[in-house]
């Protein structure tokens, strides 16, 4: 197992190199330069000054030299300073990370808590009334664009009914609240974003759970469990469910990169200061160091997710053991 882990971790290195090289090229292929947005309309900034600026940031060198420079610093976990405000990229990412992880982790838990029972129930009578009703419901939710649903809900729940705050993460008078009230306040602001993200991913996972459960319940060992005289509850939840959950475990691991990834849209809509919005802003202002750092973060999380999925699969399925 240790040898296997070591081999897998070594395998991450070439993949990471490939991802960063491609990202580096693609970012620089995109039209526009870091300084364009702020300075191209400013008559006081002459072309000479702009050239000086580029030289300062090393942007005048050939691309492969720039990449080599970036790589040399990055392996020491120095991702450079953001072009936008000159602060270290690592710090900007770290201060945005907790919120994004919180929202996505909570909605990931909600998705699985809702999708697994839905899938089990639907699988008990495939083609039955409950199964058909949930099929229609989750596919409607799946087809509705998240941002549109979010806007509709904001209109209804926040404006018409006034039950929930419309955007942001804290109330205006947040600083004056007691600690308990602060937690409540943040939770209050997160209800709608979490709800919307959960609804969006419900369809895929509940369908997956349903087919996995149907598959498990049609296996010969289910006949054995019944023939042993076990009550139907034990047959379904012990013998069926454990087997049906095997592929779902992989799904959890593969959802980990989504903890940071899928946030661009809803963070923009709900004005949440998270990583997704940071990434969006970085791309728009061509803040190269920030973009690259987020790309690396995404790549590392994806590969970590894959590794976690594989390892946990071996943990829950005795038939799978990895050898070095």
């Amino acid at each position: 197992m240790i040898a296997y882990l070591f081999r897998r971790l070594l395998g991450i290195i070439p993949v990471l190199l490939g991802i960063t090289i491609i990202s580096f090229i693609v970012i620089h292929l995109a039209p526009g330069k870091p300084a364009t947005v702020e300075q191209s309309l400013n008559p006081k900034v002459s072309p000479e000054i702009r050239a000086k600026l580029y030289k300062l940031y090393g942007l005048d060198k050939p691309l492969h030299v720039q990449y080599a420079d970036w790589l040399k610093r990055s392996v020491r976990f120095d991702f450079g300073d953001s072009f936008a405000d000159g602060r270290p990229v690592a710090r900007r990412i770290l201060e945005r990370m907790p919120l994004t992880i919180l929202v996505n982790a909570v909605s990931l838990v909600c998705v699985f808590l809702a999708a697994i029972p839905l899938g089990i129930k639907a699988a008990q009578k495939p083609g039955g009334r409950f199964d058909n009703a949930t099929t229609v419901a989750v596919f409607v939710l799946f087809a509705v664009p998240t941002f549109w649903l979010a806007l509709l809900l904001m209109q209804l729940v926040c404006i018409r009914l006034g039950w929930l705050p419309i955007s942001g993460i804290k109330s205006l008078d947040f600083e004056y609240f007691s600690p308990a009230r602060k937690v409540m306040d943040i939770g209050w602001h997160l209800i709608l974003p979490v709800f919307v993200t959960t609804l969006g991913s419900l369809a895929g996972i509940s369908r997956y759970m349903r087919s996995s459960m149907i598959e498990a319940m049609s296996q010969p060992y289910i006949v054995t469990a019944r023939a042993k005289g076990l009550p139907e509850r034990t047959v379904v939840y012990k013998h069926g469910l454990r087997n049906a959950l095997l592929p779902i475990v992989t799904l959890v691991g593969l959802s980990i990169p989504g903890l940071l990834g899928g946030s661009v849209i809803f963070e923009s809509i709900f004005a949440l200061p998270g990583l997704g919005r940071l990434f969006y802003e970085a791309v728009m202002t061509r803040d190269y160091p920030l973009i690259m750092a987020e790309v690396v973060l995404g790549a590392v999380l994806t590969m970590a997710g894959n590794l976690i999925a594989d390892i946990s699969y071996a943990y829950v399925d005795p038939r799978i053991r990895y050898k070095g």
Binding site: S218, Y221, V223, A227, K228, G229, H239, L246, P318, R319
Partner: protein, 264 residues
């Protein structure tokens, strides 16, 4: 002697997308205590469906449309789910073809034997484990402790079939239904398993309902044979009489086929 099992006019239908299949049509059969009865017939003749219908562990699209199955004087087909759970495993036990796929891949052998013991005998886990080890010894498995901790994929097919038989006998059933228990195994292992069943039967005194398409096996072990063809029992009699004077055309055909290849 009084019958242990008496099936009368059993009918089972399968509902498919477009049409209905009558898999079992008016089957009558009986098994006396401690008797070995073989149900023989080609694939798709309704042998397995008949066996599964007795304790209603059929696939969801199957329906028992008519019939009675008296076991110990009680009609199994009239019992509710709860009452049936008390019969399954403890009074009537099953043993299937391809033991490896009929064992749950994610639970250890010990767990799978113990859960049946605990459910039917209401004993503690510790007692159940002791009982499980004893059962494995009973089916001639060397090193039962190691096997209890193993998973089905780590054992051979023959070993898994022994495990399965041990599991079936966990609650001392009065009737053991074996559905082609040796079909997936090679000939040497088949002989061992048949010998084991014979020994266990002598020791524990259960009745054996043995399903097979193999007339050579039937001739070797059965006291009586039922021949099934297209969902019906076409012939049922003492083994010697069936082989000496088969009445139905299908039985004659089967016997002459076996004689031709010199297997009888």
């Amino acid at each position: 002697m009084e019958n242990l099992l008496e099936v009368k006019n059993l009918n089972v239908d399968f509902q498919l997308e477009q049409h209905v299949i009558h898999a079992v049509r008016g089957v009558d059969l009986c098994v006396r205590p401690q008797e070995t009865v073989v149900v023989a017939g080609e694939s798709g003749s309704g042998k397995t469906v008949t066996a599964l219908a007795l304790t209603r562990i059929l696939p969801p699209n199957a329906r028992i449309t008519a019939g009675e199955a008296f076991f110990d004087g009680k009609d199994l087909l009239a019992l509710n789910e709860r009452e049936l759970e008390q019969v399954r495993g403890s009074k009537i036990a099953y043993c299937f073809q391809e033991p490896t796929s009929y064992l749950n891949p994610v639970y250890s052998i010990g767990e799978q034997i113990c859960e049946a013991v605990i459910f039917h005998q209401h004993c503690s886990r510790k007692e159940a484990e002791k009982e499980a080890a004893r059962l494995l010894e009973d089916v001639r498995i060397p090193d039962p402790r190691r096997v209890l901790a193993s998973y089905p994929h780590q054992l051979s097919g023959g070993m898994n079939q022994r495990v399965f038989i041990a599991m079936s006998l966990a609650c001392k059933p009065r009737l053991l239904i074996c559905d082609e228990p040796t079909t997936a195994l090679d000939v040497t292992i088949e002989a061992q398993i048949l010998q084991l069943l014979k020994e266990l039967k002598a020791r524990h005194g259960f009745a054996l309902l043995f399903i097979t398409h193999n007339l050579a096996i039937a001739k070797k072990i059965a006291q009586r044979i039922y021949v099934m063809y297209q969902g019906k029992v076409v012939e049922g009699d003492e083994t010697s009489r069936i082989f000496a004077a088969p009445r139905h055309a299908h039985t004659k055909e089967l016997i002459s086929a076996y004689e031709k290849i010199g297997k009888l």
